[in-house]
Symmetry: C2
Subunit: 422 residues, 2 copies
């Protein structure tokens, strides 16, 4: 049997009892005959405690030192996990990101992995040891400083190590049973999805499904590495994210699921001169203040005025920053006014079968109409339809789509749908 990489998040190792449970699961996998490499996040509240300490000594701590501080978190959890495994009679060795060969660029707080050189991990596995690796961290190629990978960092560490070690599978353990057809808190009849293609999971993640981060799925797709998202509290099969050959896709369900995102806002730039380069100017101003935009809509311009309106969505936490930056640039860009709205949400329908099944779009909009929901913006890809609606209408929109596309379960009710930590 081959190598399994397992990743456990902060809630799975939140205290000594849970660490011991995780150790049992790891030892069981090892006893089945697999080589096992484990990636672990910091214990539950550790990161918050460390951030609080940092805030007490400095309002704006340097990124290098913040990374040095935060990486203490995984150091603690991984050493404790190795101890718990040793206590069950198995040999375990913990390794920092740097020791595990996770090489990154020098962008503190959100470093990108540029290489993985897991020589020490391979050596430990060859000795029959269980390797425990700190997630979320690496060492910069240029400065040899400790870095952190930012959001989704531990999942990405796990996938990157699994790819570098030619693992059979990367198992991502979380507090839910897998990826669901919708958030069960909104849709009690939501079902666990057994299998998703990388493309579908990417669209789900980009559309607000918090269970896996985009970057980790992208990494897995690049190396065609199977991911198994499953619960650390049960032994049930979860959701497999795999490469699905085109011929199989024909027989796959048309629709995988409904994702949604709260905390969205939109800005309309009114009366933009309708000439080349105007939109580029607007988005350059927004990008310069570090704000990522999502959907963009440009109205047909008025022949009478030679002006047009441009609307885009962004995280509502960035709304003030973006509005201020645009206001400052009003004269140079030459638009008439700004309108903003932070009471919106996004709902998306994702499914690879959409490509080959006409009529999905029509059914989508009739479901919205039947539920009495006004659609404010539309964006589509080959395998996704997303619309912006009033935030307070999100639950109705999600449930209406889930039902219209026959995703409702007739079986048991899904467990609570949660997000991943780091």
């Amino acid at each position: 049997m081959g190598l399994v990489v397992q990743k456990y998040g902060g809630s799975s190792v939140a205290n000594a009892e849970r660490i011991k449970k995780v150790a049992q699961r790891i030892v069981a996998t090892r006893k089945e005959g697999h080589d096992v490499c484990v990636v672990v996040s910091a214990m539950g509240d550790t990161t918050d405690d460390l951030l609080e300490l940092a805030a007490q000594v400095s309002p704006l701590p340097p990124g290098r030192e913040m990374d040095m501080l935060l990486t203490a978190g995984e150091r603690i959890s991984m050493a404790l996990l190795a101890m718990a495994i040793a206590n069950l009679g198995m040999e375990a060795r913990s390794f920092t990101g740097s020791q595990a060969g996770v090489i990154t660029d020098s962008t503190h707080g959100r470093a990108q992995i540029i290489d993985v050189a897991p020589g020490r991990i391979r050596e430990a596995l060859d000795h029959g040891h269980i390797a425990i690796v700190a997630g979320f961290q690496g060492v910069s190629q240029d400065t040899k400083d400790i870095t952190t990978l930012g959001r989704g960092g531990s999942d990405t560490t796990a996938v990157a190590l699994a790819a570098a070690l030619n693992a059979e599978v990367c198992e991502i353990y979380t507090d839910v049973d897998g990826v669901f057809t919708a958030d069960p808190r909104l849709v009690p009849t939501a079902r666990r999805i057994a299998r998703l293609s990388y493309e579908e999971m990417l669209e789900m993640a980009a559309s607000g499904a918090k269970i896996l981060h985009l970057r980790c799925v992208e990494y897995a797709r690049r190396f065609a590495l199977p991911i198994h998202v499953r619960s650390s509290f049960s032994t049930k099969t979860g959701t497999w994210i795999v490469e699905i050959p085109e011929e199989e896709q024909m027989e796959a369900p048309i629709i995988s699921g409904v994702a949604h995102e709260r905390g969205e806002a939109k800005i309309t730039v009114v009366g933009v001169p309708d000439k080349p380069g105007e939109a580029a100017q607007i988005f350059a101003v927004v990008a310069d203040v570090g704000v990522n935009i999502d959907m963009i809509v440009q109205n047909v311009s008025s022949v009478a005025t030679g002006r047009t309106d441009i609307t885009f969505t962004l995280p509502s936490s960035d709304l003030t920053t973006a509005v201020e930056a645009l206001s400052k640039a009003q004269a140079s860009i030459g638009f008439e006014s700004l309108q903003s709205d932070d009471q919106i949400g996004k709902v998306s329908l994702v499914g690879a079968g959409m490509r080959t099944h006409p009529g999905v779009t029509a059914k989508f909009f009739s479901a919205m109409a039947d539920a009495g929901i006004n659609v404010e913006m539309i964006s589509t890809s080959q395998i996704r339809i997303s619309v912006v609606v009033r935030e307070d209408e999100l639950p109705i929109a999600v449930a209406a789509l889930h039902s219209a596309f026959d995703l409702d379960s007739t079986g048991d009710i899904a467990t609570v749908y949660g997000g991943t930590g780091r």
Copy 2:
């Protein structure tokens, strides 16, 4: 101006407020024109908290993983200290023991430093940065695993780095004003000692003065590196530990101070056959169970029986272990019985001037006699006299010697005398 290495213990960085105070002191030293390298221990209770966590997951955690766990402590304190310095407008960079080039053997929990290669520290200093280094930790030469240095480890890190960097001085900051002529809790008239030779400090440390660890003083002596022990709560000059040329020693005070040690025990091995190799057998048995012995006394053997008694002292925490080991070996060694006593203490008089001033021994024992104290064992070096007395008579013995050798202060009362942490 040259390089100053400063070491701050756990109580000096116990919380955010204290870390900010320490940062101010470091910045002040830098602004005087010195290059500054700082060695820091873990914050106050961090180590105890981590030990408690370890105990919760495993009764006997592997040393490698224990070291991985505990080194998270300095990682936190050093990053916070670097942040606090940055907040005062100075550039600071924190480094783990491994990054600072502290190379050790592979003895987890009490590794020995075998080399210091501070290339990254030198580079940081050359850039005008303040270097913050994690005390107590290193990386093993053979396995590249993280190690800890055990007791006195942070002081030793500081002295070793100072030696490798050719520092002018290694300043050891603590919660008292320096080394005192006696423990001020026992002798309120105890005075701060302005200057001590390495030999005197070694004898003081070996005799129970907890302010500096033996290994750190030994390291400093080997490299003739001046140590300045001083308070982190004041700017007063503390105690300098330096090489004192022989001609100056003639004029130095005859006696430096009185040290004492509680928590001692003694074992008497009764009726040992008086022939070569018997004592060696006894001490081999004790050494095999990892117990360090201190003073040894052998009585004149009885001509009638051809047997003798051997008495030695050891830490009282090791008494049970040693007695059990000896009992098991009774038949093979052939002694008659064992007696043990854990109600003893040791008091020592230290001073380089003893070498050249006759009469010190006579005065010592008449002071003991005048105070009505029975001396149970005696051990001497060229610059030290130590005796074992009843533990409850220790305070009287210390005060009597302090007074007899004119060490009593006429000035201000000393502040409380504490120990160092790691």
